[in-house]
Amino acid sequence: MEVSHSIRERTIAENSLVILLQGLQGEVTTVDLRDESTARGRVVNVDAFMNVRLEEVLYRDRRGRLSQLADLFITARNVRYVHIPDHVDIMETIQTQLTRIRRVRNFAGEKRGRKEYLKKKN
């Protein structure tokens, strides 16, 4: 599971429950959309704004028609529910994601990270 490269997204994720959704990377789950269609597939990525990217998706539109989509990107605004799989331990997932974020931050902060992305203080 990757942590976002954007400082802004890491900060947002650290302070909201979207971090739980980010921890679902690799899980197969169902996303209910606002227009009452559903998409079931493997979570590729959820960004800090809650845009959801799925792959190998079975998409059922609001009329009930099924179709398969190789890759699906759902805009955050259109997400109504994300189903958390039963076998996922929510607290543990959140803790793991938080640890990952902090590890990335500390890695850079202790002067061990890649210097070229650090802004110079003038």
């Binding site: 900060t11 909201s16 179709s67 890759d71 805009t75 605004r77």
Partner: protein, 247 residues
């Protein structure tokens, strides 16, 4: 019937630019054209320069479809949450009104398929739209905004930016003007006075854990003072008495 407009393609922020893309608008084929995926919008133009432009907030979802039952050919599927006749941008935004309120009724939706001749371009096009979509977070979503002073927690921790901080003792002292120093001394004097008076006045109300040495020291001082006062008074009375007797 789709109304195509003579709109010019985006001039900057173009992430992806593909030719030989057939557009299918709600099932109606529009022929081959060029697709521009820019940071501001997704635009498509046919051979004669007529086309349409989609703003990212209006795109509900996009996908790569390899399902031949939906459409005979691999394509990029885009769902737009308004019933577009492809008027100009301002009208589109006005028309995309309260989908939330219309949750019960069927909200208008436009399905657009971009069918490339080169299937290998599907992945880059999909990724380009995904990245640009992330540049347009929902302005109504207040949860992801932070109130108060925004600063990068991480940059601050790395010491990259100046956080508003308090001076430590040495720094603060060196920053004081002459007037400031005088004020500080006066205030410290007042503090010291009030501290000694506090012990003087705290009749019976003494905290348990006061250091015994300190407290006893000050109370001894008080006792000495009082006894001195007493001595003086006694002496004065004695002298008066003596004077009185003499008379």
């Amino acid at each position: 019937m789709v109304n195509l407009k003579n709109v010019s393609p985006p001039s900057e922020g173009i992430r992806c630019n593909q030719g030989e893309i057939t557009a299918v608008w709600n099932g109606e084929g529009l022929g081959p054209g060029t697709l521009y995926i820019a940071e501001t919008c997704v635009s498509w133009f046919d051979g004669s320069g007529m086309g349409f432009s989609l703003k990212y907030p209006s795109i509900s979802l996009h996908a790569i479809s390899r399902d031949f039952t939906a459409y005979p050919g691999e394509h990029l599927y885009v769902m737009v949450n308004t019933k577009l006749n492809d008027k100009c941008a301002e009208e589109e935004d006005n028309e995309s009104t309260d989908d939330d309120c219309n949750a019960d009724s069927i909200s208008p939706v436009t399905e657009i398929r971009f069918v490339p001749s080169d299937k290998a371009t599907l992945e880059p096009m999909f990724s380009a739209i995904s990245e640009c979509q992330a540049l347009h977070p929902d302005p109504e979503d207040s949860d992801s905004d932070f109130e108060g002073d925004e600063y990068d927690v991480e940059e601050a921790e790395q010491g990259q930016i100046d956080l508003p901080t308090f001076y430590n003792f040495e720094e603060g002292l060196s920053q004081l003007t002459l007037e400031g120093q005088a004020t500080l001394e006066r205030l410290e004097g007042m503090l010291a006075d009030s501290a000694s008076q506090k012990h003087h006045c705290m009749a019976g109300v003494r905290p348990e854990d006061t250091p015994t040495g300190c407290c006893n020291g000050i109370s001894l001082k008080c006792i000495r003072m009082w006894s001195a006062l007493l001595c003086i008074c006694t002496w004065v009375m004695f002298i008066r008495a003596c004077n009185g007797k003499r008379k």
